[in-house]
């Protein structure tokens, strides 16, 4: 191409036009390729039937004090714990400590008794132990991640170990006294 565009008989005006044509054609090509690529990429996003599973209703009536259950929401484990008075007190006490990801216990729960959070360690996604009575609960009496040793307190806040943030709280609401809707 170079040998035709720079020959002496070609005026600057022609070269400019040719550059414009090349840019315009190239630009259209990019737009075309992008509009072909987008549906392909978007097809990898969650499909309609996956999105349809975005809420889960949970009956919390059978959960006794000091007991936890794990339910599945969007393919992830969600911890629902009916906390004891001691645990709530420990969580409130933790509000004043030096926290890596400072958050008040009151901001993490809608009702002091019920702690709802996504049970995936914020380090690299393992499920922390602490749901069963026999599980190790870490140095702060909450949850302990066995993969890389992160300790969470009774509010699910990171207290020790490599995890950067607290266990996240999913969107949820109390439908009535016995039922919560997650998602």
């Amino acid at each position: 191409m170079a040998d035709t565009a720079t020959s002496p008989e070609t005026g600057d005006e022609d070269a400019g036009r040719r550059d414009f044509l090349a840019l315009a054609a190239g630009g259209m090509g990019v737009v075309g390729a992008a509009s072909f690529a987008w549906p392909l990429i978007d097809s990898m996003n969650p499909s309609a039937e996956v999105l349809a599973l975005s809420t889960v209703e949970v009956n919390i009536d059978p959960i006794a004090e000091g007991q936890s259950i794990t339910i599945v929401w969007q393919g992830k484990p969600v911890f629902i714990r009916r906390r004891t008075a001691d645990e709530v007190a420990a969580a409130k006490k933790g509000d004043g400590e030096d926290l890596r990801d400072p958050q008040k216990d009151g901001d993490r729960v809608q009702n002091d008794t019920w702690l709802v959070m996504i049970g995936l360690c914020t380090h690299l996604g393992c499920i922390p132990l602490g749901q069963k009575g026999t599980d190790p609960k870490g140095e702060f009496g909450g949850w302990f991640c066995p993969c890389h040793g992160s300790h969470y307190d009774t509010s699910g806040r990171i207290r020790k170990g490599p995890a950067p943030t607290n266990l996240p709280v999913p969107p949820y609401k109390f439908v009535d006294d016995k039922t919560i809707l997650i998602g």
Partner: protein, 427 residues
């Protein structure tokens, strides 16, 4: 013109001295000499490669959503259509892309037949093309089985049963193909694996086809070799531009089917889930297999000691395999039909024969259609085995131009369209 370029960019130069991809691309797609007289029929090779890329890209996306299991395959395809983001678009592109691929490749092949592109020194180029066609057919057939509709299932049953016609080992081969005693889950699984594999084999053979093309260079409507720079123009910008124009029109044609008639080329029966206990009343393959299907069904009588079933299979495969030896069956020295006063008409008769066979393939195998199919099959082979060898001997070709440049420039450089292009190149 064909000197090695000096790369100004130091990174490009560094890479190029170690792995000459830039020099290669410049040589094969920038400076590469193309005959100056190519018409739009020379677009179809490039179009075929575009369709191949589109098929592979959309196919990979579909494979991410598809489940190759008899219990889930049909539903997973419906899920793609209803739930997956743009799944309907990707599937319709892939589905119609198969038809587009055959449309483009058939035109590409008939181009080769008309202009004698298969003749020396391009025999191997042509034979690689026939391998590509066979791979395409195998891939398309197995892909059609994957949605697990009624046509998928019964198409798979009928086509795999073709192999049972082979004497002695036929039944054993069919069981091996099925991985069972009927088309079932094992069959579906292996068809999916092979449907994913073969396109990449296809890419390899297309690569060989292109390398071979770049050794022999393109044939052209005059069917005479380029004799010097006056007969050629560089690939870029002349054919990048010409191929782009063709691509634009082709993509509009393609998009029309995808958006406005996505199921026109398919069969409604394939939206009924496969049922091993009910055969559809009228089994028809996809349109691109119809002429071959007609040949298969036209043999209703035993030929000497060969049973009708086996003879049908032999002729069906033979109708494609015969293309491998076409370069030697055609005895004419002149390539292009433009300079072959009789072949010019014989070509059209053959093309019409193929279209008639395609029509027959879509009809029930009885009555007039069957007889027309038998005549059409007979002529198909007569064309290759008798007409092509004999015609080359008895036909008196028209005088060939001295060079590619001569008919367009009138020998010296007249003011025709071709000459205008030549001037642009010089100025």
């Amino acid at each position: 013109m064909s000197t090695a370029p000096q790369w100004k960019n130091p990174v490009v130069r560094w890479v190029d001295e170690r792995l000459p991809i830039f020099t290669y691309m410049d040589h094969e797609y920038n400076q590469f000499p193309m005959p100056r007289n190519l018409n739009y029929f020379w677009n179809f090779g490039a179009l075929a490669s575009i369709v191949l890329v589109v098929m592979i890209v959309t196919g990979i996306m579909l494979a991410m959503q598809y489940t190759p299991h008899v219990d889930h395959a049909f539903n997973s395809v419906e899920r793609i259509m209803r739930d997956v983001n743009y799944g309907w678009l990707i599937r319709y592109i892939h589905m119609n892309g198969a038809s587009m691929f055959f449309i483009v490749v058939f035109i590409h092949m008939f181009r080769g037949l008309y202009y004698g592109s298969y003749k020396a020194p391009r025999e191997l180029l042509w034979m690689l093309g026939v391998v590509i066609l066979l791979l395409m057919m195998a891939t398309a057939f197995m892909g059609y089985v994957l949605p697990w509709g009624q046509m998928s299932y019964w198409g798979a049953t009928v086509i795999t049963n073709l192999f049972s016609a082979i004497p002695l080992v036929g039944e054993w081969i069919v069981t091996l193909l099925w991985g069972g005693f009927a088309v079932d889950n094992a069959t579906l699984n292996r068809f999916f694996a092979l449907h994913y594999l073969l396109p990449f084999v296809l890419v390899g053979v297309v690569g060989a086809h292109v390398v071979s093309l770049h050794i022999t260079k393109s044939n052209n409507p005059d069917g005479i070799e380029m004799k010097g720079p006056q007969d050629s123009v560089p690939f870029h910008p002349y054919f990048t531009a010409k191929d782009s124009v063709g691509m634009g029109f082709f993509l509009i044609f393609f998009a029309f089917f995808v958006f406005f008639a996505p199921n026109y080329l398919g069969h409604p029966d394939n939206y009924i889930e496969a049922n091993a206990l009910v055969t559809p009343a009228h089994i028809v393959p996809e349109w691109y297999f119809l002429p071959f299907y007609a040949i298969l069904r036209s043999i209703t009588f035993d030929v000497l000691f060969i049973p009708a079933k086996l003879m049908g299979v032999i002729l069906m495969f033979g109708s494609i395999l015969i293309l491998f030896i076409l370069p030697w069956l055609d005895t004419a020295r002149v390539r292009s039909a433009k300079y072959r006063p009789i072949y010019k008409y014989v070509f059209w008769v053959f093309l019409i024969d193929c279209i008639v066979l395609g029509w027959v393939g879509a009809q029930p195998a009885e009555g007039t259609a069957l007889i027309i199919g038998q005549i059409g099959t007979f002529y198909y082979f007569i064309h290759f085995l008798v007409v092509m060898p004999v015609l080359g001997k008895i036909e008196t070709p028209l005088p060939l131009p001295a060079s590619i440049a001569e008919p367009v420039t009138g020998g010296g450089g007249g003011a025709s369209a071709g000459a205008a292009a030549a001037k642009m190149e010089k100025s």
